[in-house]
Structures are given as structure tokens and as C-alpha cells.
């Protein structure tokens, strides 16, 4: 089973990296951009039948830092499998 995990800063946690990217987009002339936030995407293949609890535990124990980050787990079907 292919899964994709998105790890993002919690709302309210300042993201200086996102702000720097926002400034850079501004300087390139792109208008109307707000709230740029940088996160991390982790894709992996896990054994079929791996429970949601197990995947959640992976996120909580290692993949995300629960002090500042949230995570979202996406199960990918065959069409959207990573190349």
C-alpha cells in the first residue's frame, strides 16, 4: 500500500521560511499571494493491512514533531502511485 504523509506547521506557528518564499514571489511580480507555508511530504510503501493506528504512531513518534507540526495521511491508489 502506498501512502503519502503531509507534515505541516500547526496554524499559528510562525514560518520564516514561508515568509522568505512569499517575499521572493512578491519580488518576481506575482501578486495576491498570501500565507505561504512550507511543509514536508513523505511517501512510503507499507505492507497491505498496516493499520491506521500504526501509520499514525509512525507520524507521532518520528515523522512529525507534535510540538509544532500536524500531519495528514493519504492512501494512494494505483493511478496516483509515485513513479
Amino acid at each position: 500500500m502506498n501512502i503519502r504523509i503531509l507534515v505541516r506547521l500547526k496554524p499559528g506557528v510562525l514560518d520564516p521560511q514561508g515568509r522568505a518564499v512569499h517575499h521572493s514571489l512578491d519580488s518576481l511580480g506575482f501578486e495576491g499571494v498570501e500565507n505561504v507555508r512550507i511543509g514536508r511530504m513523505i511517501e512510503m510503501n507499507v505492507a497491505d493491512g498496516t493499520s491506521d493506528e500504526t501509520i499514525k504512531a509512525m507520524c507521532e513518534q518520528l515523522l512529525a514533531n507534535m510540538v509544532i507540526e500536524d500531519f495528514a495521511i493519504e492512501k494512494l491508489d494505483a493511478q496516483t502511485e509515485p513513479a
Binding site: 506557528v13 510562525l14 520564516p16 521560511q17 522568505a20 513518534q61 518520528l62 515523522l63 514533531n65 510540538v67 509544532i68
Partner: protein, 229 residues
């Protein structure tokens, strides 16, 4: 009493030798070097140091992988028995990632790596590391990091301040740390994480801008305290 200290080395640690040299300079006893893959620590340790550097290349997050390495389970068990643990720079990041200290170290607010001497104020003298300082004493200790921006939620910060667990504050906050926090203590005061490098401030310098020996006092505090105990 012979002082028995261990310095843990992870792949990518680069201040481990400096830490061992600093400990030996003060205690007169060579520090035991421990590799990250070791599941056990030597018996009867008086002190454990997690050094600076870039453990596991800072992959995922600074300190995240090291915090899950076999030796950290032994370090956590030792800390629970009351063995003093000092984490400097990447060592501090490992301590927060392992849960031994609250909060986390985010990317510096200015996005840049900072490498300079920082001015600190001693905020708590209630720990083996800080007991020999005067409250409010000023220290000059170098920092060199990219992820030193201490973050915790407001309730955690209030709790740390209310119980004397902020060990050091920056007088010239170089990284955006909440409430200028440069070093944090565990609840029992026996685990200290700090971004500045005391092991790099061990000898008098020809000119104050080039360093000094304010870091040496921290090691003297720990070692004197243990000998007296």
C-alpha cells in the same frame, strides 16, 4: 572521587572531541567515548554529554533520528535515575526530540546560520550546571547553529519560567528564541539543553572578542557539585 563522564558520538557529531577535551581539562579524567549504536552505557556514570554537530545530517529534523537511536534509550534511562545530562547545540535538539526536555528548536528566525559569541544571563542557579553562578551573572559563550530558535507553547513557557527551568537567556537573541531562552532544564534540574557551546569557552583569550573561559565554569559547577555530594 574519580569523575566518570561519557560523551556520545552520532554520525555527524563534530563537537564530541571538544566536549571530551573540556571535561578532561576540568576533571582530570578522560571522558569515555560512546557510539550511537551502543545499546548500553558504561556503569556508574556521573555525567553524560550529547555534543554539537549535525547528527544524521539533520535529516528529517535536527536531532530527530539521533533521538530514536539505541543509545538514547540508555541515556533516557540514566536521566531518569538522576545522572546529569548536558546537551549542547545539536545535543539540545536531540534532548527536545527525545522528550527529555520540552519544546523544540526551529529554524533561526533570520533564516541564517549564526556563528558568533553570544551574551548570556544566568536565569536559574538551581541545577548542578548553574549552581556556582550568581543569578543574573553574565557570560560570553559562542553560538554556531541554524536551528536554535527555541519554541514551546505559551503555557509551557510560563511553566518553565515559573519553576526556574530557564537556565540561560540571551541578552542579544541571535535566533528568535521565545522569551530569549538559550538553555532549558528538566523538571528535576539534572538535564540541561543549551544552544551556546560552553566547551568552546575554556581558555583565556588574548582579546575578549576572541573568546574566554566562561564555559569552563559550567563544567566546574557540575564536577565540584558531584565531588561534594
Amino acid at each position: 572521587m574519580a569523575f566518570k563522564a561519557a560523551v556520545i558520538t552520532f554520525p555527524g557529531s563534530n563537537c564530541d572531541r571538544d566536549m571530551a577535551v573540556a571535561l578532561e581539562a576540568v576533571s582530570g579524567e578522560p571522558a569515555i567515548r560512546v557510539w550511537h549504536g551502543d545499546a548500553d552505557l558504561p556503569d556508574g556514570l556521573d555525567f553524560i554529554a550529547l555534543p554539537g554537530g549535525f547528527s544524521y545530517g539533520d535529516y528529517l529534523r535536527s536531532g530527530a533520528i539521533a533521538a530514536k537511536s539505541p543509545v538514547l534509550r540508555a541515556v533516557i534511562a540514566a536521566a531518569e535515575r538522576g545522572v546529569p545530562v548536558l546537551g549542547v547545540c545539536n545535543g539540545f535538539q536531540v534532548l527536545t526530540e527525545s522528550g527529555l526536555l520540552p519544546g523544540t528548536l526551529m529554524r533561526n528566525a533570520g533564516q541564517s546560520f549564526v556563528c558568533r559569541t553570544s551574551e548570556l544571563e544566568v536565569a536559574s542557579t538551581a541545577s548542578p550546571f548553574t549552581q556556582g553562578f550568581e543569578a543574573g551573572e553574565r557570560l560570553r559563550i559562542p553560538v554556531a547553529h541554524h536551528d536554535g530558535n527555541y519554541f514551546a507553547d505559551e503555557a509551557t513557557l510560563d511553566g518553565l519560567e515559573g519553576t526556574g527551568r530557564v537556565a540561560f537567556r540571551y541578552l542579544d537573541n541571535p535566533n528568535g528564541s521565545r522569551r530569549d531562552i538559550a538553555g532549558v532544564l528538566s523538571e528535576n534540574g539534572r538535564v540541561l539543553g543549551m544552544m551556546p557551546h560552553p566547551e568552546r569557552a575554556m581558555e583565556p583569550a588574548a582579546h575578549p572578542s576572541m573568546g574566554g573561559q566562561d564555559g569552563r565554569k559550567l563544567f566546574e559547577n557540575v564536577i565540584k557539585g558531584l565531588v561534594a555530594a
